[in-house]
């Protein structure tokens, strides 16, 4: 058997996947060819090195956790999937691990914080806004306009919660420039 032929068979040889006759031919060649024998030893060596890696096991909690995740995943998957918007995010959540909930909630939390901060500045809440609270008319006017715009939206598209009422209260304390 020629070297090129032997080398094509070495993967199967390493895996003991050759028929007895062919395996014997390869073995005879390796007995007389140092290069092919070295290559065969390398292949076996690589397998052995890999297989020295320890086998891992899932945590004892694995199935219990999965049992908790499955109904949520199923419920989310039954909603009409959409490519964009809220449903898109839901499908993203559905397709992912619990960690993703954090990934989605974090930016929402940041966004809310910014809104509350701006709102707090507008209401003049203590501890919110620049330390040197100089009266900046244009900024005040801008915030007032924003609040009116929000209130207008809230009137056109009433919100389920008390947000609209809060906006109206805010508007009442805002005077147009």
């Amino acid at each position: 058997m020629r070297c090129s032929r032997v080398r094509k068979l070495l993967t199967d040889y390493t895996d003991e996947a050759l028929s007895i006759g062919v395996e014997e031919q390869v073995r005879q060649h390796l007995g007389g060819c140092r290069e092919c024998a070295a290559l065969a030893a390398d292949l076996q060596s690589a397998v052995a090195a890999l297989q020295s890696l320890p086998r891992l096991e899932t945590s004892p909690d694995f199935t219990r956790q999965l049992r908790r995740h499955l109904p949520v995943a199923v419920a989310l998957s039954r909603r009409a999937p959409a490519r964009t918007g809220l449903a898109g995010w839901l499908s993203y959540l559905r397709s992912g691990s619990p960690r993703r909930f954090g990934a989605v909630l974090a930016p929402i939390a940041v966004g809310l914080s910014v809104l509350l901060y701006v709102w707090g500045m507008h209401l003049g809440l203590p501890g919110v806004g620049p330390a040197t609270a100089e009266p900046v008319i244009s900024e005040d006017a801008y915030l007032a306009a924003m609040a009116r715009e929000h209130a207008s939206y809230a009137t056109k598209q009433p919100l389920a919660d008390s947000s609209a009422a809060i906006l109206r209260v805010t508007l009442a304390g805002t005077k147009a420039p």
Partner: protein
């Protein structure tokens, strides 16, 4: 074994969650090891394995038994890994063999004992196992997927061909290249340190 798998799959399609848990029990460690060795992160492996089994459950009604359940599960695991690894790799510094090796006991200095061209005989030690894993991570994704599926998870050539949708000849040549590369890189590291 396969017949039992397919029976369990049929029961899963009737929303029998216990049947699914039986399947999970059968394959969770196999998937965990594949995911951990392919991604190089034992920390994320459990999370990814959960993801694989959630996705499999959601898709099980579409599984028609065109391949074995294991093959189908590995297709999902492979996709999850490729997807996650693509994202993770951007965030992480590429593996370098000159860095200290991290083990569960913290970082250890690279004191390489005499391998005598025989890596497997000394790889029992934890730091060398970490070195094998790191060297594995230097292989291309394609080579690593095949060598982990075959040499660690025991998938047959035909099964890997089905999982990755490639010809059996390609599976064998990737396996050959992966083994040669792994061996050469381990050896060149040892000789470089000698």
């Amino acid at each position: 074994m396969e017949v039992a798998d397919l029976l369990l799959v049929e029961r899963c399609k009737q929303d029998d969650i216990e049947a699914y848990e039986a399947l999970v029990d059968r394959y969770r460690n196999k998937i965990l090891n594949y995911v951990a060795r392919y991604s190089g992160s034992t920390a994320d492996a459990e999370d990814l394995t959960q993801e694989v089994f959630i996705k499999a459950y959601l898709a099980i009604k579409k599984f028609r038994g065109q391949c074995s359940f294991q093959t189908w599960l590995f297709q999902i695991a492979s996709n999850v890994c490729v997807d996650r690894f693509r994202r993770v790799r951007r965030d992480r510094v590429a593996y370098s063999l000159d860095e200290p090796v991290s083990t569960e006991d913290g970082e250890v200095e690279r004191e390489i004992p005499d391998w005598s061209g025989d890596p497997e005989s000394v790889a029992e030690s934890r730091e060398l196992q970490a070195l094998v894993q790191k060297t594995l991570m230097t292989l291309s994704d394609k080579l690593r997927a095949v060598i982990v599926m075959h040499d660690l998870e025991g998938l047959r050539y035909e099964e890997i061909a089905e999982v990755l949708q490639i010809p059996i000849g390609t599976v064998k040549s990737r396996l050959f290249n992966a083994r040669v590369e792994l061996r050469n890189r381990l050896r060149s590291y040892v000789e470089g340190r000698a």
